[in-house]
Subunit: 258 residues, 2 copies
Amino acid sequence: MGESVLSRFVRIFEAFTPEEPALTVSEISRRTGLHVATASRLVAELVSHDFLARDTDRRVRIGMRLWELATRASPALSLRDAAMPFMEGVHDVVGHHVQLGVLDGDEVLFLERLSTPGAVINYTRIAGRLPLHASSSGLVLLAHGAADLRERVIVGPLRRYTPDTPAAPARLRAVLAGVRQQGYAYCPGYVHPEALGIAAPVRDGRGEVVAALSVIIPNEAGATSVVPVVRTAARGISRALGAGGPLAATTESSSLIH
Amino acid sequence: MGESVLSRFVRIFEAFTPEEPALTVSEISRRTGLHVATASRLVAELVSHDFLARDTDRRVRIGMRLWELATRASPALSLRDAAMPFMEGVHDVVGHHVQLGVLDGDEVLFLERLSTPGAVINYTRIAGRLPLHASSSGLVLLAHGAADLRERVIVGPLRRYTPDTPAAPARLRAVLAGVRQQGYAYCPGYVHPEALGIAAPVRDGRGEVVAALSVIIPNEAGATSVVPVVRTAARGISRALGAGGPLAATTESSSLIH
């Protein structure tokens, strides 16, 4: 029967990226490997459902209806709604970038990001991804993730963004143990020399880590004062999600001990 | 050839709502009218692409990959990104609800909403919809929308949410003229007696109205002081979108004249 119709639609959706949100049918044909006549027919069908939309210049974009259906009942939205008041509070106080990420496959997928114009460099974007070993959010999610995922990531390959990226297996293992013990990830220059990521786990009603709350701020001394802000907000989100007693009686050691 | 495969996928996505984000295959079958074997096969195919995801209890939800592909290159995201710093500022000062809506079909589709726990009642949600004649955002979009849309909406039917909803054609026409003249919509109790909506137009680089910025606050005297906050933020977003001279030399009269 060959490739399913759905696989072709998926390839078309995947052709659109934040860098290239508008494509002509022939560009879609090239990027998907679909014959231009096939691409044209499938695009027309998607446009008829407002899953794609045609610009005045005949370029095609993601349609509002696709966004609406993907968003209105998405688990991402309820998590994001619970997190947002806390994220706004952190953003008011800390500025720069405040973000919420979840584990998806072997990467962090960012559900939300609040940014300030002129903030420090940050590769994250909403619905964007970063590898688990390099980003503070990813390290929190990996530290609390399944053992088989952790072992698979640790053996690499591990991209080295900067000299400080924990891209050696032994160092990554030590970093992850530290994240579990301290209850947060503190990542100076791991992704970019000028940026510092700080992330803490968000737990659901069963006490499982379902997301990471992180801030990206300039990589400067004195940033440690931001750690309790992030941890407190992450615990607030966890409580809003229904995490109860186990959160208070956590295995994380207090910062006084370290 | 009968119904297209895409139409069936669309019906499945449409079965998921904010009230019912998790469905069993038999519930999907009932809601879509698809035979349970067909629904089961199509759901399995969507799950294989992470367009749907199965819970531990075998219920099905919208999948992260669908959300990601629908969001990362969506025009909704770039508009929302430009608006967010202004929306956060308004939310800091005004509290309650701050929202961004666009015209989609004959309704407002809300791209973003910032809310405070304990804020006044508000039917809006992210990726939710409201009719054009009743909501402040809708009135702004309708006032600046195409004439044929306006005439179609004015002849109704127009749902009356409260005694104050402009649900009579003559009154709605007068309200829309007022919105165009004043440059904002001021809607006490139009959707709920306790809530007041205030909305102002957001324009793109060509000066066209592409969105409405709105606040929902308690329906109390003295709320008029919020009007300049909303108008100023909406103009800030417009400038961020590249609206230049035409914005300053607008046809909106200044509040001193009225």
